[in-house]
Each structure stands twice: as structure tokens, then as C-alpha cells.
Symmetry: C2
Subunit: 205 residues, 2 copies
DNA sequence: TTGTCAACTGACCGAATGTTCGGTAAACAC
DNA sequence: GTGTTTACCGAACATTCGGTCAGTTGACAA
């Protein structure tokens, strides 16, 4: 006889996961505060009250989304490749991985980048984000200290410009369209930020 | 006898200008949709209804703010220095001016960069912004076409990364604090974007 | 056929929203 | 003083908000 299906087949309708991903999509379109539960219901094809069967409420939806973004970033900085080797190489690796995470988890990271701290949920996310930023900041300072970065620009400023560039990808990137792959994107970004846009008469090796 | 003061002394209280600047400040703190008229009233030190004596409503407040940002940007692209000379030099000038405008009109530009198109006011601002972006895009393409930019990165991508970097300044710049001046900021940004962060054994001229 | 239960509806709640309006106190003009 | 204007208050407005809850539906098991 057939074994009782171990994970229930979820024969139709939504589950917490599908609600989250659709909700985050709408949050990014209209902004979290600009999105009503009615808007979400419409996007899900159900009534408002059905949402509460799957998730506890609007703010928890936001919290779960922000955690997805932050968990990805913290998993990266915990990797040994962010801790061992020359600072400049670790920095390049972290930039490349940041681009990858941003693209892989685009809607979640986009949401994170727009958080202003209007609730405890947002404040908690902001605090985790600041911790990530401090890690990056330290890494840039190390690279500057060992002479790998040009000495005429303040490392704190480099950190902001470099990761400002990375984060700005969230403003326009659409994976479906004919956009560059995450790797090509990271290549272009690293070329610009580390070697410069200007064409050179004869390049170094 | 004293001539009747030509511009009324506005003996006390607010005027449309002070309401706008304080409102925009609060909009940037909490987001436009996250800001209630009650929030604005509190920041202004009056009741909600007093606001309507000075301005027609919340959305018009937003509209006026967005126009301040956009007018600044369009005044720049109308300048002859954006139209004459080698493309690469015009591009550098436009980047530098963009940084200056962003800093000069920081709260207004910040607000503009967060608009998502939730109302006709926002949609109109988005359309004007897209027109500005098209101008920039053309300029980068010209610089690429005449060989001033490295040929191994798509000009459309360069546009997004370069102005993504510029716009990201709005996320952290605080003029009051010990931040760099607009000029120093533009210098650092141009050094990174055009010449690269990497220190070089021997520099070119 | 009966019962169970996941998934949902529709009516509703209190609170908050942007906005309006009648009134009013202080400053000024004469 | 008398009248007018400026800048505001307080109460109320209709609407929308996030959220609750009793009930219904339809797939499945026994």
C-alpha cells in the first residue's frame, strides 16, 4: 500500500512560502508602507483574511523577508575565503559574492536596502545590516593598510562608494530580461571599481 | 516714515517653504507612505489642520519636493558644458555636477531616488527621471564610441554602475557631519570609477 | 455516508488615515 | 477703538487600515 505521503502534497492554494514570495514582490513594487493587505490579497488571488491563515501578519512577513537577505550576507562573511589570504583578494571575493547574493535573493535584498527603521522589525534588520557593514569596512581598511588600495582616498569613503555601487544593482537588475549574469555583472563592477573605466594606451598584465 | 516692508516680515509661524523643507526631512526619515500628516504636524509643532493653511495636501508636498530635485538635474544637462567638447570630459563634468546637485539638494534628491510610481505625482517624476537617465546613457555611449572607455564593458552597464554609485551617496551622506565636501567626494568617486581603486606600481601622468 | 480538516470567505472591529470646516486669538491697519 | 488678515485649533468627516472570527467548501479517509 502507498506510504502516506511524507510531505503533504498541498493539493492547491497557497502556503507560507508562496505568500512570502508574492508579498515581497508587491512590497518592492509599491513599498512596504504603500502596500495594504488588500493589495497582497489581490496579488494572491484570495481575500485578505485568507492571508492570515498562512502567516501571522504583515510585519512578520517583512521580518521573514529581511532575514532571508541578512542570512545570506552573514553566511558569506562566515566563509573562510572571507577570512584567509591577502586583504585585497578577500575584498574582491566578498564583492563578487555580494553581487551573487544580491541577484540570487534579489527581492529580499532589495527590500532590506529600503528599510528605514519604522518598527522594531525594521530596527532589528538595520542593526544586523550595520554589523555587516562594519565587517566590510574593516576589510577595506586592511586592504588599504597593506598598500593594495590607492592611498589618496579615505578607506571609509571607499567602503561606501564600493558597496553603494554593489547595492545600486538592486535598483535596476531584472533577471528575466537580457541582463548580464551575476558573474558578468561582478566582473564589470570589479573592473570599474578596481581598474577604472578609462581605456589605457597599453595595459599592465 | 518707514517704507512698508516690501516682502512681508512673516512675523511668526510657518510658510510654505518651511513646511516643505521640514516635511521632506520627515519623508526621508520614515518614507513618504510611512509618514502621516500627524507626523508632519508634530515635526512642525502645530496641529494637522494648520498644515492645510500653507500647502494643499500631502501629495502636492511630495510633488514640489520632487520638482526641486528634477529641476536641478535638468538645469545641468541644459548647460553648454554638457554639450560641447570630448564626450569623456563632458561625462566627467556631468558626474561631478550630479554629485554637487545631490549634495546641495540632498533631501529632495533622496526623496526622488525612492519614488516607485504609486501615484500620478510619482509617475510624472519617474518619467522626468527616465528622461534624465536617457541623456546620461547617450553620453556614456558617445564616450565609449570614441574609445575613451574600456571596450570590454557594455556602455549601458557602465551607465547604471556609474550613476548607481553617484546616487548611492544619498544613502549615507550627512553634510553636517565630518563628511567630505562635494568636490572631494566627486574627486574620490571619479578616481575610483575612472582610474580604479587599485594602487599601481608607477602611475601614469 | 459520514466525518475530518485544510483552505478559504464575508462580515465585521477599532484605530488610523488625509482632509474639511467653523471658530478664534493675536497682530496689524486705520 | 473697529475691522481685517494671518495663522492657527479642535472637532468631525469619510475612507482605509491591519486584523479577527464564525462559518462554508471541497477533497479525502474510513
Amino acid at each position: 500500500m502507498a506510504a502516506p505521503t511524507p510531505t503533504r502534497p498541498r493539493r492547491r492554494g497557497h502556503d507560507p512560502e508562496s505568500v512570502l514570495s508574492i508579498a515581497v514582490h508587491v512590497f518592492n513594487e509599491r513599498g512596504y508602507d504603500g502596500t495594504s493587505m488588500e493589495d497582497l490579497a489581490r496579488a494572491l488571488g484570495v481575500t485578505k483574511s485568507a492571508i492570515y491563515y498562512h502567516v501571522p501578519g504583515k510585519e512578520q512577513l517583512l521580518g521573514r523577508a529581511l532575514d532571508r537577505a541578512l542570512d545570506g550576507l552573514f553566511a558569506m562573511v562566515a566563509d573562510e575565503r572571507a577570512a584567509a589570504g591577502p586583504a585585497i583578494e578577500r575584498l574582491e571575493w566578498v564583492v563578487r559574492q555580494s553581487v551573487r547574493i544580491l541577484v540570487d535573493r534579489l527581492p529580499y535584498v532589495t527590500l532590506l536596502l529600503r528599510v528605514r527603521g519604522n518598527s522594531v522589525t525594521e530596527q532589528a534588520a538595520l542593526e544586523r545590516r550595520r554589523e555587516f557593514d562594519r565587517f566590510i569596512s574593516r576589510l577595506v581598511k586592511e586592504a588599504a593598510a597593506d598598500g593594495s588600495l590607492r592611498p589618496d582616498v579615505d578607506p571609509a569613503l571607499v567602503t561606501r562608494l564600493l558597496f553603494g555601487t554593489v547595492n545600486s544593482i538592486a535598483e535596476w537588475y531584472e533577471p528575466a530580461r537580457g541582463n548580464a549574469s551575476p558573474d558578468d555583472l561582478a566582473d564589470a563592477l570589479l573592473k570599474m571599481a578596481f581598474n577604472g573605466l578609462r581605456s589605457r594606451p597599453a595595459a599592465q598584465g
